[in-house]
Symmetry: C2
Subunit: 450 residues, 2 copies
């Protein structure tokens, strides 16, 4: 039974996690005898989120996992038939779905790679109906994880390599699964750990966290004071940071400092979640010079810069709402070749480049100089590296999944390879993306012929 | 085995879908012998997203489903133990989790109800460890669905009751599950249907959609022209709208109009996805006066108003990116009473009201005049209606889940009951929320005693 008002999502469901038109178009392709024509689609981002100079590609692992497992159950086909929408669809459509798997090739840039506008993160080469059908899911996973990885990379970049960056966004993430994917992309983008227990355990990491105001309020109400709450929590979690801003931050810090001086308590860290974080952190540092000071509360890369400029004494940042929500990465997935014929779109402001493409990155001394967007069949110059690699062949992944650590290192190297004007927060300038002569010729000849 | 790099989410996993500190605090409560103290937590929103005059409460169904099913497996407990984080936790913590279920009561406003800042959408009354543990998941589901339902209600409000509003956000939603929840909340908030096949089928609805540029490009490239693509799609889906902006919108409309006049084709609708939608829609209407015109492309409530003011001839709107992403609803979940003692927080800008509360809504002729935020034990005046109802008792739902249709009707009535200045997009003024004398006295006496 498909119907389920609670919207519980299982792996089996993923084949139906698509826009209706992907299925109606597939039926149309079958009817026209075009379903198996070799097609190539590319996934790219036309316009970046405001003030983003680069994007960090992320989400490929989940995309490949989806492609590998894609299939339809009889129950799903029945549910589709019962909608009545496919009354005029050819019978062969159903047998195609019934036995259908994803049998195509995928070329993609590695997760953790910096990319720029109009550069394909991924290309699917598959029978037309398959390449079309997978659009919605691929965009969903890559758009979101790329957004979060990029934000995480930006936060790491401004916070510096020694800052402790914690992912605290689960309560604000857009759905439970959204919180898992956010945690993965945040870690791969440069954060140190996540408070999300499930995400951490699934990724083989140790979850992290401090304590909440409610503990101070609950134990304080029953046992008498904020200090009783601190002592209680410290008893079971002696290395966990204490949250000291429930009532009077500085008063709490002063009392802790006295206990530390008197040798009554070993405090390793505190968290500040409200008030003037820069000023409070300086006072807390003077009272408790040897502890780790964490700050949280609607922080993002801009606020980290502001705090650092204000001389805040903050060692670690809890990053939540502004990391895991906000304006999206608006990736699109467009057909670039069908049956050997390059295609492009001419709609105003939404025109695309025709043909299967490759990104040739020109790098010197680990610094990106420029990119060249060319055709897939072009060869790289001696100082260039092609970024799109074959990651899935005939429906099977070419390599085993990478670890988060590997991807995190790649992200770090990617960001370090960018020019300062691309990394800066204010008015960043993207790395120049030159269009190859061959690609420009193809585009012009396409226009001349249409 | 918990570890799973693909982050597949199953219902079993939900107990670990929480911030680490919920579990460490639970262990601390056990150690202090406080785990079963009766506690009350309330979920509310301090500050609304920019320019929102009201919120439509949503996500309760998924919250209750989570509470009802909550339990820990041995495998999960083992994974937690293996982190080493709980080395000093009392042994009883593990037996508590092992046998633990949610056994508390929940009071909540019905889904589809308009609420204002600081009004509790939900109150959990349960043993302290349980009430604390569920915070993260409850916030996750209610924050997101409330955001989407509110946006959907705003879009419906400005588009008018006759407009066709379609949810097209899956490719931009934050994770696959995020897209399902977005579809649910959007329908319950006032949209007509969703393109998300899985969401539609799970909710017992018919999915909707048109066609994509890729079909025009693929069939056009092989069979020769845009018109061939239209004819092909029309053959199998004679009532589906045609997407006419791949090359030249007006030229495509003119050719379709000729076919319609000549009786060669029955066109029921078209979609415009780029260009000047107001101008194009007027021209298309003059060419094809009897068809349904859909528009899409980064539309939101502001853009709908702009299009209507520009005299656009648009019957239906495809709503995606700006419906399902963006700044979040920042709901919080705060302890308000422990062991019969009211609690509150005094941090700067983050102070809370103490005690278990009720919203008393004063309404006349189906119009909201004002709300009174009082204590739960206060009685309603004759012209007031209490909004928080008992929805879960001792861990069991009081009523079966509501249908989307029921919730959608409630949303519609809620929005209709708001004053015009609360509904408007520019500088909306929320309905006045008065603090009852009893609540204010409690707050003052709490402050006096601390």
């Amino acid at each position: 039974m498909i119907e389920d008002q609670q919207l519980i999502l299982s792996t089996e469901d993923y084949s139906l996690l698509t826009d209706l038109y992907q299925l109606t178009m597939a039926a149309c392709y079958v009817g026209e005898g075009l379903e198996d024509k070799p097609a190539s689609f590319e996934l790219f981002v036309r316009h970046f989120p405001d003030k983003f100079g680069y994007l960090i590609a992320m989400g490929l692992a989940q995309a490949l996992d989806y492609l590998e497992k894609l299939h339809f159950t009889n129950q799903q086909l029945e549910a589709l038939q019962n909608t009545g929408i496919f009354a005029h669809a050819p019978a062969k459509f159903w047998s195609l779905l019934e036995s259908g798997r994803f049998t195509g090739d995928v070329w993609a840039v590695s997760e953790g790679t910096a990319i720029f506008a109009n550069e394909p993160l991924l290309r699917v080469e598959a029978p037309l109906w398959q390449a079309q059908l997978v659009e919605t899911y691929l965009l969903n996973t890559i758009n979101y994880q790329t957004l979060i990885a990029t934000k995480a990379a930006r936060m790491r970049d401004v916070a510096g390599k020694d800052a402790i960056l914690l992912e605290f966004g689960t309560r604000r993430a857009f759905s439970p699964q959204g919180s898992l994917w956010a945690a993965r992309a945040a870690l791969a983008g440069g954060l140190d750990s996540t408070s999300n227990v499930l995400a951490a355990l699934k990724l083989g990491r140790k979850p992290s966290g401090t304590m909440a105001h409610s503990l101070v309020m609950a134990i304080g109400a029953i046992e008498g004071s904020e200090d009783d709450a601190f002592s209680a929590f410290h008893r079971y979690f002696p290395t966990a940071p204490l949250l000291i801003d429930t009532y009077d931050t500085i008063a709490a810090a002063e009392r802790l400092a006295e206990k530390v001086k008197a040798g009554k308590m070993e405090v390793t860290g505190v968290r500040l979640d409200s008030g003037d974080l820069a000023e409070l952190s300086k006072k807390v540092r003077s009272l408790l010079p040897d502890i780790t000071i964490f700050a949280s509360g609607d922080l993002d890369e801009w606020e980290i810069v502001r705090l650092k400029e204000a001389g805040a004494c903050i060692d670690g940042y809890g990053l939540g709402t502004k990391l895991v929500t906000g304006s999206p990465v608006n990736g699109v997935y467009k057909i670039v070749e069908i049956d050997g014929i390059p295609t492009m779109k001419q709609s105003s402001k939404k025109a695309t480049y025709p043909g299967r493409k490759q990104i040739f990155r020109c790098q010197e001394n680990s610094q990106i100089l420029s990119d060249r967007l060319g055709l897939a069949q072009e060869t790289a110059n001696s100082n260039e590296q092609p970024l799109l690699e074959l990651v899935m062949q005939q429906g099977k992944p070419v390599n085993p999944p990478e670890t988060i650590e590997t991807i995190q290192k790649r992200t770090q190297a990617s960001v370090a390879s960018l020019p300062p004007e691309t990394r800066r927060l204010n008015d960043p300038i993207p790395v120049p993306v030159n269009i190859s002569n061959a690609l420009e010729s193809l585009r012009l000849s396409w226009i001349a012929n249409h």
